[in-house]
Structures are given as C-alpha cells and as structure tokens.
C-alpha cells in the first residue's frame, strides 16, 4: 500500500490536504500551495486535495505514499483528520490525534506546558453558558479582579487570531467576549503580557526535536491579528529575533519543552512572549503551523539554512518509515 521507506530516495506520491471547512480554510489553502510548490521543486510528486466527500474514495483508488495534512483550525488541528488517516493505515506527517487534541485546546495545552516548567500567563477558560447562568457582569468583574488589565481574549480553540482581541478597558470586555464566542463556545481570558512576541518552530526530523531560530514579530498596528498575519508588509519580522543569547536559548528550550510535553511529532510552532524582565511566556502551540508566504516557520527554516521542500521530503520519508511493516506505528 505504501512506498518503500528510504532515507534518501524519492518519497513517492504525496497528498497535501488543504482547505477544509474551518474558519481558516483560506490560510490552509495558501499553506498547502506553498508546501506543494516547495516539494515539487525537489522533484517530489505532489497532489493537493481539499477535504471533502471525494477524498476517501480518491485515497482508496490511488493510495499515496504519504499524506501531509496542512489543515488549520477544526478537524485539521483537533486530530480528527489524523484519526481517519490512521484508520486508513496511511502514513502522514505530523502529530498523532491525541496530541493534536490536547495542543489544539489552548487552556489544556497551557496547563500541560506549565506543568513541564514553562511559564504561561494566568488565564481562565469559560463557556458562554456560565456568563448567562451567573450574570455576565459579576463574572467579568471577577475576571478583571483576578487577572487585571489588559487582557487577551480569544476562542479556546482556533488559530490565526480569529476572534481574538486585546482588552485595555473593562468596558471593552463584553464586546471581546462576544467576538470570541462567535468562533466557539469557550473563550480563554488571559493576562496580557507586554513584551517581544516570537514564534519558534520545532523540527523533529532526527533523534530529538530541535528549535528553529526564533522569529520576532512586530505588527505595525501593535496587535498580530488576522490582517497583520496575512498581509505582506504589515508586520516586521526579525529572523532570527533580536534576542540575547540566554533569552534565545530560553525560547528554544520553551518551544522544545512544549513540543515534547504535548507529545507532538515532526513539526510544531510555539508562540511566546518575552516580557521586560526576560521571562519567556508560553501562549499557544500549533500542531499544523502556517506555511503561507507570510508565516513564520518557513522564514525560520530559511534562516536556519533549510529548504522547505527538503524538510518536507525528510519528514515524508520518516512518516513512511514509521508505517513500514517492520516498524509499526507507536
């Protein structure tokens, strides 16, 4: 069913899954196109497919050597599509479903990473029902009392800063809650840490995971929202981030710790903030990091002297090798 595993030879036909029905469909399509191009430039046969009713018959009719899910948001990063790929015994690049489920849920991921010793801003995750049952005013007053201002409010699950906002004034909190709840039933309210925002990719292509150079993020408008993320020119990226060596090392260690503690595989991206005291704060992790023209992982790979297509090829061969009969999946 699958190609012969090889460390150096051609990987065989790779299916890149991109699109889907999540709010991040457009980002996923862009990521998929970028990855597919990068791999084709290395002579890898790539087919890009959407996730729809035609997918499974197509995979059955012509099983690929490997699948790369580049689906962001629901079903892509919550582990669902990977469960199905495992059902089909298809090798795939990326983390296993259980790890994805944990990583995709920001409050759960924060507690796992905090237990592993990485600082993460105080936060509270609440479903919208609790506000109705207890009275929104009382709950929000308690939130502000406990966490202070400013606050970061975002959906507990989801990415690309969709539904996320910074609240500087308690009067703006209700609106921020409504925006977050438009994207999902649970909102994460987090103490906002002022500092240097960095993204650290972790590559797991050898014996142990290692961190790509941290990418510093300075959005023109001060907030790395959807527009700042996907409009070329509206954010300044420093590659590698301008950090002291010890801070850079702490960022790398935090990202690798998050990757390991969450049981992630192959590739992840951890978003961090470094405050004025030099403390590195974990914000969230992505098991299917963006690969668009304005995403940070490709920038970091390039800064590390890596070619995106070559990295993908290596991860594909590892995925195939994992599924080889002599080496059953973990």
């Amino acid at each position: 069913m699958t190609a012969t595993p090889s460390e150096t030879g051609p990987a065989g036909r790779v299916v890149v899954l991109a699109g889907g029905l999540s709010h991040e469909r457009d980002v996923s399509l862009r990521s998929g196109r970028r990855l597919a191009e990068a791999m084709r430039s290395h002579g890898i046969e790539v087919e890009q497919r959407d996730v729809d009713a035609g997918l499974l018959p197509a995979l059955a009719a012509q099983p690929p050597a490997c699948v790369i899910p580049v689906l962001h948001g629901e079903s892509g990063e919550d582990g669902a599509i990977r469960e199905v790929l495992e059902l089909l015994d298809l090798p795939y690049v990326g983390s296993r479903p259980a790890a994805c489920r944990v990583a995709f849920d920001k409050p759960v991921a924060k507690s796992v990473v905090a237990r592993a010793g990485v600082a993460t801003p105080d936060s509270v995750a609440l479903p919208h029902e609790i506000f109705r049952e207890l009275g929104a005013t009382a709950v929000m007053e308690a939130l502000v009392r406990r966490l202070g201002l400013p606050l970061m409010v975002k959906p507990a699950r989801g990415g690309s800063a969709l539904g996320a906002s910074v609240v500087h004034d308690a009067a703006a909190l209700p609106g921020a809650m409504v925006s977050a709840f438009a994207y999902g039933p649970v909102a994460l309210v987090e103490r906002f840490v002022t500092g240097v925002e960095v993204a650290v990719g972790v590559l797991d292509d050898g014996e142990e995971p290692w961190a790509l150079p941290a990418v510093g993020i300075e959005p023109d408008g001060g907030f790395y929202d959807y527009t700042a993320r996907y409009t070329a020119g509206s954010t300044r990226f420093s590659v590698p981030a301008k950090l002291d060596d010890d801070v850079a090392r702490a960022c790398a260690e935090a990202a690798v710790t998050a990757h390991t503690a969450l049981g992630l595989r192959d590739l992840s991206r951890t978003d961090l903030i470094i405050d004025d005291a030099g403390t590195v704060w974990f914000l969230e992790v992505n098991s299917a990091p963006g690969m668009t023209e304005t995403s940070t992982v490709p920038l970091a790979a390039q800064a590390a002297g890596l070619d995106l297509g070559e990295v993908c090829g290596r991860l594909v061969r590892r995925a195939i090798a994992r599924c080889a009969p002599a080496d059953p999946p973990a």
Binding site: D26, R132, T235, E310
Partner: protein, 452 residues
C-alpha cells in the same frame, strides 16, 4: 542533509538576518491601496464557496437555464465564419452591430439612443471605473444611496473619492435626503461629481425607485447641476411588471446610463456598456483605449450573435420566473423561521433581500457563527463607506435552489437565535449601539469575485 544545530544554540548557528516585512515594495504603494489587506471577513467567504455551505452571500446569476447548444453553435460559427475578426483587436468603443443591439435592449426601458453614444465596457463594473476615472479627482464627492453596491464603493475608494450616503426607503432614494446631502456637501466646500444610483431592484437594498419619485430626483440633480450615474444591471428582471422607465429616458444630457449582459445573459463574457452624452462618450472611449485598448472583441461578437439568433427576451422571461420562485422561497422561509424582531423587504425583482436584525445584533460579528452553521451572507457594513449597516445583512436568493434557500434560512435563524441569546447575556454591556459607532472605513469586506 542539513547539519542540525544543537538545542539551545540555534540562534548562534544561523546567519544573523535583518528584519523583513516580506514585501519589498511596502513603502512605495499608492495611498489608494490602503485597505487592500487580508481580512477576517474575506477569509470567511472562502468557506462559503464550499458546497456544504448554503451561500446567501454571492450575487452570481443562475445561468443553468441558458441554451448552451444555441450558444455553442453561435460561438462555433463565429470562429468558423468570422474568426480572424473576432480574435483581432477591435474598436475602443465596441463592435458597431452590438451597440445597435444594445440600443434595442435599452428601448425596453424607454430609452431612445444612438449607437454612437454607446461605449462597450468590460462588464458595467468597468463602466463605473471609467466614469469615475474621467470625472473624479481625489477628494471629490460621489453621492451614493445608503446602502450602495459594494463594487462601486470599491471603485470610488480606489480613485480616492469621498463617499456621501443618502438615505433610501421602500420607494428608493429619498428626495429630501438627496437634497440634504447636496446641501451639506456644498456647505462643506466640497465638489460633488455625480450621484450614483441603482434605481431598479437595488443591490443590496432590493427596492426600486418609484415612478413618482424619478422626476423629482432628476429635477433635484438638474437644479444642483449634478450628473446622475444610473447603474441598471437588474432592470429587466422585474417579476410582476413591465420594466421601469429609465432615468435616462427622461434626461439625456444629465444622465450616464450603465447596462450589462451579466444578469440577462451571462457574466462570463464580461460585456456591459455606458450610454453617455456625446462629449462624455468621447472621453470614455479614450479612457477605454487607455485601459484595455478595446473591450474583448470575441465576447462582444459572441453576445451579438446570441442576441441575433436566440429569443433573448424569452430567455429573460425564464430567468425572471426562476428568480421569482427563489424570491418566494426566501420570503416564505424568512416569514416562517426568522425571529419576530427581524425586518426585511419583499423585492419585486432582482436578486436581493435586505434584512435588518434585532437591535444590538452585529451581522459582521455573527458571520463566523453562521459559517460554522454552514450558511453565509454579506454583512451590511460592506455596503456603506462610513461604518453604518452593522445590524443589517444582504441575502441573495439568485443562485441556490428553493430547497437550499429554505435550508439556508433555517440555519440562519438558528444562528441568530444563538447570537440573540449571547447578546442578551452581554448585550446591555456592549455600547454604544453599533450604528452610532459609525466611522469612515477603507477596508474591503466584500465577497471575493467568485461570490459577487
């Protein structure tokens, strides 16, 4: 293989890089590109293109009833018999035979025109662009209905015009609102270049300017010496009556009339036109030559051949009946399913229903929830240049089947109930009321081209 840096030393093992904005030209773009950015709303419309989603957002005409055999034969013969002409450059003004046929089309709305005064354009969208190009300097004012067509607002912004809205009601543009807009603009020392109006089956408002109001609107503009840009893509798609008499039919010098085959035939040919007073027409032709050299010869000849060979009026009748069935499905579903506090108009032609939500509900903020529920619409703010329209949305009934329309409305009603519940929880705490927060905006929260 790449040498793997040791954990913890990665930043020392790579070449120190400088910062980048990922766009080498970021400091060189014209001011008019401000607002040309990625947006959450546009991202959500990407999901709306999936078949699982009932899209009540797009304004794509439903052309499934077209006689493809007739069109195919016409195009085949065109290539066989006149291929070297059809595939050659042509006149900047457009193919003469087509311009004569366009005059026959406009005659249905009472317009007496000469083909010499017609300029063929790449859809009427390009006609809006060319008219704005020849009339407007940055800062000039265009008066638009409130709400107005999102594609026209985009053009006016691109030419750095100031957009002033004038209120509409069930009879279209309100004369007194137009007077006030003119007075206020002139009092502010600004120059009004034209009134942009969609008098028939308005996009997005769904209403038509009443016959009684048309002379009054023309008189106001005549008195104030304001040119009227009459955009009329839906005029022949009325469900219950003969076509409205065009503004241009009663005012030849003060009106530029724009028409299109996108809704009465097919949008893929991209053939529209402008009918303009002689001197204006001369400038439009020069502007057209500058923009495209000539409108696509092949498309024009294909449309011309279709008009000559086919009962195109009979085809429009079929379109009207199909759209009427869809309108009925939407209005019935809205009556059956939507919360009582919602209001909407019942259009008697065209593609759109304009729906106003209960107080405090923000259609744009609700869109992610709708997309999760697999239904899409266009938030009302897309149709205003000043941030108004938060509590409204445009619903299109033109493309989905009646069954899908009902299903879409069912989903939308569920979404709205959830949102109302959320607003009930937080609503009294979110103020000021959205429509009082209106601010000028420059972003483009419109559906992408495959949905418009």
């Amino acid at each position: 293989m790449v040498d793997r840096p040791t954990l913890g030393h990665v930043t020392r093992d790579v070449q120190p890089g400088s910062s980048t904005r990922l766009d080498h030209y970021v400091d060189r773009y014209a001011a008019r590109t401000r607002g040309m950015t990625a947006s959450e709303i546009r991202a959500l419309f990407s999901v709306a293109s999936r078949p699982e989603v009932v899209s009540l957002a797009g304004g794509m005409p439903n052309i499934s009833g077209l006689p493809l055999d007739v069109v195919g034969d016409a195009i085949g013969d065109l290539v066989q018999e006149q291929g070297t002409v059809a595939m050659q450059y042509g006149s900047g003004q457009g193919v003469p035979e087509l311009r004569e046929q366009i005059c026959s089309v406009m005659a249905l709305e009472g317009i007496e025109a000469h083909p010499d005064d017609v300029v063929v354009t790449v859809g009427s969208q390009q006609a809006v662009d060319l008219v704005t190009r020849i009339f407007c300097d940055p800062g000039d004012v265009v008066i638009c209905e409130a709400p107005s067509y999102v594609g026209a607002l985009g053009v006016f912004r691109a030419y750095e015009c100031d957009i002033v809205h004038a209120e509409m009601d069930a009879d279209g543009l309100v004369p007194e609102a137009l007077r006030q807009a003119i007075l206020a603009t002139k009092a502010a020392g600004k120059t009004i270049k034209f009134l942009y109006t969609i008098p028939n089956y308005h996009n997005p408002a769904g209403v038509s300017m009443s016959a009684e109001r048309r002379p009054e609107i023309l008189e106001i503009c005549r008195e104030a010496d304001i040119l009227v840009l009459e955009d009329n893509p839906y005029g022949l798609l009325g469900f219950d009556r003969e076509p409205h008499r065009a503004l241009r039919a009663d005012e030849a010098e003060g009106v530029i009339y724009l028409g299109s085959f996108s809704k009465t035939f097919a949008p893929g040919f991209r053939v529209g036109w402008a009918l303009a007073p002689h001197a204006v027409r001369e400038k439009l032709v020069l502007a057209q030559e500058s923009a495209t050299l000539c409108p696509p010869q092949f498309s024009q000849m294909a449309v011309s051949s279709y008009l000559a060979r086919h009962d195109w009026q009979g085809q429009i009748k079929q379109f009207r009946e199909m759209y009427r069935e869809r309108r009925d499905a939407m209005v019935e579903a809205l009556s059956d399913l939507m919360p009582a506090a919602c209001q909407w108009n019942v259009p008697d032609g065209g593609f759109y229903v304009w729906l106003t939500l209960p107080p405090g509900i923000d259609a744009k903020l609700m869109l992610p929830r709708a997309v999760t529920a697999r239904v899409a619409y266009v938030p009302g703010t897309a149709f205003f240049a000043d941030g108004f329209g938060t509590s409204s949305m445009r619903l299109s009934y033109c493309y989905p089947s009646p069954e899908r329309i009902r299903e879409g409305v069912r989903r939308l009603a569920g979404v709205l109930e959830e949102e109302m519940e959320l607003r009930e929880t937080f609503g009294t705490l979110t103020d000021p009321a959205p429509d009082r927060r209106a601010v000028p905006r420059s972003d483009y929260d419109s559906p992408s081209t495959d949905l418009t």
